[in-house]
């Protein structure tokens, strides 16, 4: 009987498209990670140089384990589904009367699902193997294939992990008969694991931490912590001591969980439910025999207007919102989120062991720990709401009502936003509670509200647009959820594939910074420009949601495309056109600012420039230069326009014993002018590296001095780009940032493997403690020693100017 059930389950999965979709997704993810670790994107982005081997046993274990964590999110819809399927299709009413034993049934269900997961893992393994060796990868950091490293990663770490998490998910879904419950269990487990890791980060607890880390990473770290790079590259992970104990402990717990399922599972028709107030049984009888009623419906007004539909949207969103906040996955996420926030808050108050005041912006920073919870809720409930009708099988009743599609999906969108508002309020409340607990009563409510319900909300709303669209497109809410998770994790990682500009990555953009002195400063306009840009993209997605919204019977994808095409008329076209124009023009404006009006260098180009810089100018590294002995600076700071103008005067002396005939001037990327007090020729002017070479008509003899007058100011700011370090309150400017210096300034590539690629010699080692040339320089710069310094600073009236030295006149 076991094998019949087992084979049936496997066959079922082999016929499901989801199985192949999961495999394909993981294949691509694993390929992406392994290939980019092995440097496949080196031609378009920075070189992945490293002396560690990317497919060493420990790296493979790490990468493989990382992938497995992603698979955990699929467990509810693979392992949980294996048993839930029978409930959903109501097969259990028939199946449970068949003559097989509990053990047969449970083991067949569980192990067939484990086999399916293992097959997906196998695909990951293959993808890793291929990814490391794709043409274009850097063969220097890939070593020969070792079956043993994959095998140990699977047998020692991954298999016990999937058995443990699988058993827990299996238990939760079996007893609740609810897939969402399984999903929440996975999230809770990951949260708890993260929490324990934090709490046990103290070195004294290392053994305990190694024992109770369910992933086994802390256990292997217990031994490999002090491995050298070459040991990491070559040695297999040990299988001994605490690693063995850890694995056995968690396997034992997995077995216990499964045993628990076995003991309490029964072939009953109804799910286990907890009843706190026992209601007394009551005998019911029928009394409605026959009876003919006259039907006399009251006269009511039917209203199909736009305004009424708007009202309906609001009402429906309230119903959906109530459904969300009453559902216990939501409640448990909020609860766990609260705990996480409070822990995070107690951490942000500690600055290297120094207690700081729990001011509002710190509370808001700590609240960022809640971001994941808000995103997961958005992704999950977008799916739950879109498919709510179908799950309850009420969709046909709803679909034949004269309510337009937009009312239906907009109401779900609004319910999502209301949910986000509630979650953001959780941050507000926990922040204030924490402040009160610490006796800090300066509640900046306005700041809380502005940041949470203004700045942060728009970010989550943009995610809600995407979530609604993806969940409409996919017919399985858990597949949709998984895709959304992959997108939200993957989009920021596109950087590694050479996609560096924010305007090409959904909902990416510069962030905002808050300080008590400068508030949000100028980060505001750039943040909003990008969020507005993505908001238009979200509106476009909303149009697509409208086109692909399922009304009536499910259709094949081809039919849905056809329906979408037929819906693309009238308002849909106008909305699409308007949003597209806004999206593209704003996008172009940002693109123009960053790429055309100003030069933008990709990290690859920066890397290449660094190479050229070194190759062109390294030869001047040791050419003798005069040293600055006196600086006079006039600094005008304009906090209103966020600009500055400065000029200054260097007096330089030849402190060497040879005559110096040329001056190497290293300056910053600001409009500048330079004049020397001796006759001098500009031999080479390099505006890329901002490095000029001047030749003195008459060489500077030892002990002689030279003066340099310079002016520097910022390029004008635009609303998308600030070209100066000045802020409206509390500007801090370092002399390096705007004033010139002398000589070759270093700034070379540091990684030896990368240097080798560009035919550069290996890095210089740090100079020997007795190296007299090196000893001749301070740790800050090579072109000066102690100097005479004089500064005149001007700024707005409400600012106080501060510079090194003693105040002479104010």
């Amino acid at each position: 009987m076991f094998s019949t059930l087992f084979n049936y389950e496997l066959k079922y999965w082999f016929k499901k498209p989801e199985f192949y979709i999961y495999m394909a997704i993981f294949f691509i993810i694993a390929l992406f990670f392994s290939a980019s670790a092995a440097g496949i994107f080196d031609s378009i982005t920075t070189t992945t140089g490293s002396s560690s081997i990317v497919n060493s046993p420990s790296s493979i274990t790490g990468l493989f384990n990382g992938m497995t964590v992603l698979i955990f999110f699929l467990f509810p819809s693979i392992i949980g589904l294996s048993i839930y399927r029978d409930y959903k299709s109501e097969m259990h009413t028939i199946l449970y009367s068949y003559p097989f034993t509990k053990a047969n049934y449970l083991f067949a269900k569980f192990f067939s699902a484990i086999v399916i997961v293992t097959l997906i893992l196998f695909v990951i393994g293959v993808a890793l193997f291929i990814g490391f060796r794709l043409p274009g990868t850097n063969s220097d950091i890939v070593t020969a294939f070792s079956f043993k490293s994959y095998y140990i990663a699977y047998a020692v770490y991954i298999l016990p992990n999937i058995l443990l998490f699988g058993a827990i998910v299996f238990a939760v879904v079996t007893f609740t008969r609810n897939i969402a419950a399984g999903f929440i269990a996975v999230i809770l487990l990951l949260f708890v694991q993260g929490l324990m890791e934090n709490l046990l980060s103290d070195p004294d607890n290392r053994f305990l931490a190694a024992m109770i880390d369910p992933f086994g990473a802390a256990a292997s770290n217990y031994y490999t912590r002090y491995w050298t790079v070459s040991e990491q590259n070559e040695l297999h992970l040990p299988i001994k001591g605490v690693i063995l104990y850890n694995r056995l402990l968690w396997l034992g717990i997995a077995a216990l969980v499964f045993g628990f399922v076995y003991k309490f599972f029964s072939f009953s028709q109804n799910a286990i439910s907890f009843n706190f107030k026992k209601s007394k049984g009551e005998r019911t009888t029928k009394s409605n025999f026959g009876g003919i009623t006259r039907i006399n419906l009251p006269k009511v007004n039917f209203d199909y207007s736009f305004v009424k539909n708007l009202k309906t949207t609001w009402k429906l969103s309230n119903i959906d919102f109530k459904y969300i906040v009453k559902s216990w996955p939501f409640l448990s996420i909020v609860l766990v989120g609260l705990i996480i926030i409070l822990i995070a808050l107690s951490e942000v108050g500690n600055l290297f062991g120094t207690k700081t005041l729990p001011v509002t912006w710190k509370m808001l920073n700590g609240g960022a720990a809640f971001t994941i919870a808000i995103n997961i809720c958005t992704f999950l409930y977008a799916g739950m709401l879109v498919h709510r009708g179908k799950i309850a099988n009420i969709n046909h009743l709803v679909d034949v009502t004269p309510t337009p599609n937009w009312t239906l999906f907009l109401s779900k969108f609004m319910a999502l936003i209301k949910m986000q508002l509630v979650l953001l309020s959780v941050i507000l409340v926990s922040g204030i509670v924490f402040q009160m607990y610490n006796g800090y009563y300066d509640f900046e409510l306005g700041h809380y509200i502005k940041e949470l319900f203004g700045l942060q909300l728009i970010n989550y709303v943009i995610w809600a647009f995407l979530a609604l669209f993806i969940q409409t497109l996919f017919r399985n809410p858990y597949l949709g959820l998984f895709v959304l998770l992959v997108l939200s994790i993957g989009i920021p990682l596109l950087r590694f594939a050479g996609i560096e500009q924010d305007i090409f990555k959904y909902n990416e953009g510069p962030g905002f910074q808050y300080s008590d002195m400068n508030a949000y400063g100028d980060s505001f306009s750039r943040y909003f420009a990008h969020k507005l840009y993505w908001f238009f993209c979200g509106l476009l997605l909303l149009v697509f949601t409208a086109l692909f919204w399922v009304r009536g019977l499910p259709h094949s994808f081809k039919e849905r495309l056809f329906i979408a095409k037929s819906r693309f008329k009238g308002l849909a076209v106008i909305g699409f056109a308007v949003f597209l124009v806004c999206f593209l023009s704003l996008g172009f404006r940002i693109y123009h600012e960053n790429n055309i009006a100003n030069e933008r260098l990709s990290s690859k180009e920066i890397e290449l420039q660094t190479v050229t810089w070194e190759k062109t100018y390294k030869k001047y590294e040791n050419s003798p230069q005069p040293r600055i002995v006196s600086v006079k600076a006039n600094m005008n700071i304009y906090p209103k326009t966020l600009g500055f103008e400065a000029d200054g005067n260097y007096i330089m002396v030849n402190k060497t014993s040879v005559a110096i005939d040329s001056v190497l001037l290293n300056y910053n990327d600001y409009p500048s002018t330079f004049t020397f007090n001796k006759e001098i020729d500009l031999v080479s002017e390099d505006s890329i590296y901002n490095f000029n070479i001047y030749k003195l008509k008459q060489a500077l003899q030892p002990g002689d001095s030279l003066q340099l007058e310079f002016t520097v100011k910022n390029k004008p700011n635009t609303w998308l780009r600030k070209n100066s370090p000045v802020i409206s309150n509390g500007t801090f400017i370092n002399n390096f940032a705007i004033f010139p210096s002398l000589g070759y300034s270093g700034g070379e590539l540091t990684d030896n493997k990368t240097r080798e690629k560009y035919d550069l010699p290996p890095n210089d080692l740090k100079p020997h403690p007795s190296d007299s040339t090196a000893l001749g320089n301070t740790y800050i710069r090579k072109d000066s020693d102690w100097i005479d310094f004089e500064a005149t600073v001007s700024t707005s009236e409400d600012q106080i100017a501060i510079a090194p030295g003693y105040l002479q006149k104010e």
């Binding site: 029928k286 409605n288 025999f289 026959g290 009876g291 003919i292 009623t293 006259r294 039907i295 006399n296 419906l297 009251p298 009511v300 007004n301 039917f302 209203d303 199909y304 009424k308 009202k311 309906t312 009402k315 429906l316 119903i319 459904y323 009453k326 709510r388 309850a392 099988n393 009420i394 046909h396 009743l397 709803v398 679909d399 034949v400 009502t401 004269p402 309510t403 337009p404 009304r551 009536g552 019977l553 094949s556 329906i563």
Partner: protein
């Protein structure tokens, strides 16, 4: 108002032709759509109810082109699918209020009055605060009728509503339906011949996606007058009888003999007795005539 269906065809992705070039005209009153399981009844009804689009053909109700202007039909449509679920943890009253909103009743007091009335009509008023998800089969079906009435529909489509109801519930259900259907078009699908006989003033027999017969129950039985014959036979003789005559149906008697009904224009043999034609006979004859002839 009249419902006209022209040249309707629908083929599913798996190759099943659920509706095959179907033409039908339905007037005011109760219209029974009779057919075996899988005949295409649900497909037809879902298509009329704007839940799926046909491959080709046209549907017109009054002056509404149903396939072009779905919203217009939905305003006057009451639909009860073969099986439906409800949101868990919502009472009948709440759910009906929800549906009334969806159906365009914007005023709160209007909704309350309407919901109260439909609850009373369907005799659910006493249990209006109970979760619909916990209702028995009959109560849930009555809830289905209640939600259907909310927009005072002109076209009512009910798909096999009496399946699985106990006799009392079934009667009650049919009575309500009859009451509603006096001055609008009700299309009512079933595989139970009794239902049609009791209620419908018009009927059609559907199989394999085609209308086999479009008639009224009385006309249909009258047409068969003098053509139905019965005989009591032994179980072992059935095969020979089936080979010789057009056997419509056969039922066991308590003594293990069989009662067969035969369709023939004249008395088939001496030992056959004439019998009053039943609607069942009409149904079986129509299905028999449609059977593919085996070569």
């Amino acid at each position: 108002m009249k419902l006209t269906i022209k040249d309707l065809t629908k083929t599913y992705k798996n190759g099943v032709k659920a509706i095959d070039n179907l033409n039908l005209e339905i007037g005011t009153g109760m219209f029974g759509l009779l057919g075996p399981n899988g005949a295409g009844k649900s497909s037809l009804m879902r298509t009329i109810a704007t839940l799926q689009s046909p491959d080709s053909g046209a549907i017109q109700f009054g002056d509404i082109n149903v396939l072009e202007d779905k919203m217009a039909l939905r305003k006057i449509l009451g639909y009860l699918p073969q099986s439906f679920g409800v949101y868990p943890k919502m009472s009948a009253e709440k759910l009906l209020d929800y549906f009334a909103t969806l159906k365009g009743v914007s005023s709160k007091s209007d909704r309350a009055a309407l919901v109260k009335e439909v609850l009373e009509i369907t005799n659910l008023y006493d249990v209006r605060h109970k979760y619909v998800a916990g209702y028995s089969g009959g109560m849930k079906q009555r809830f289905g009728i209640a939600q259907l009435l909310l927009n005072n529909p002109k076209l009512i489509i009910v798909d096999e509503p009496t399946a699985g109801l106990d006799p009392a519930e079934r009667h009650r259900f049919l009575n309500v339906l009859r009451e509603v259907g006096t001055n609008c078009t009700v299309i009512f699908s079933t595989h139970i011949v009794e239902d049609v006989k009791e209620l419908c003033n018009e009927m059609a027999i559907l199989n394999g996606g085609r209308i086999l017969k479009h008639t009224t129950p009385i006309e249909a039985t009258n047409a068969l007058k003098g053509q139905i014959w019965t005989k009591i036979i032994e179980r072992d003789d059935l095969e020979t009888m089936e080979a010789t005559y057009k056997v419509l149906s056969s039922n066991y008697n308590q003594d293990n003999t069989l009662n067969i009904r035969v369709h023939a224009l004249e008395k088939p043999a001496e030992d056959f007795q004439s019998s009053n034609p039943q609607l069942d006979d009409v149904y079986f004859i129509a299905l028999k005539q449609d059977e593919p002839i085996l070569a």
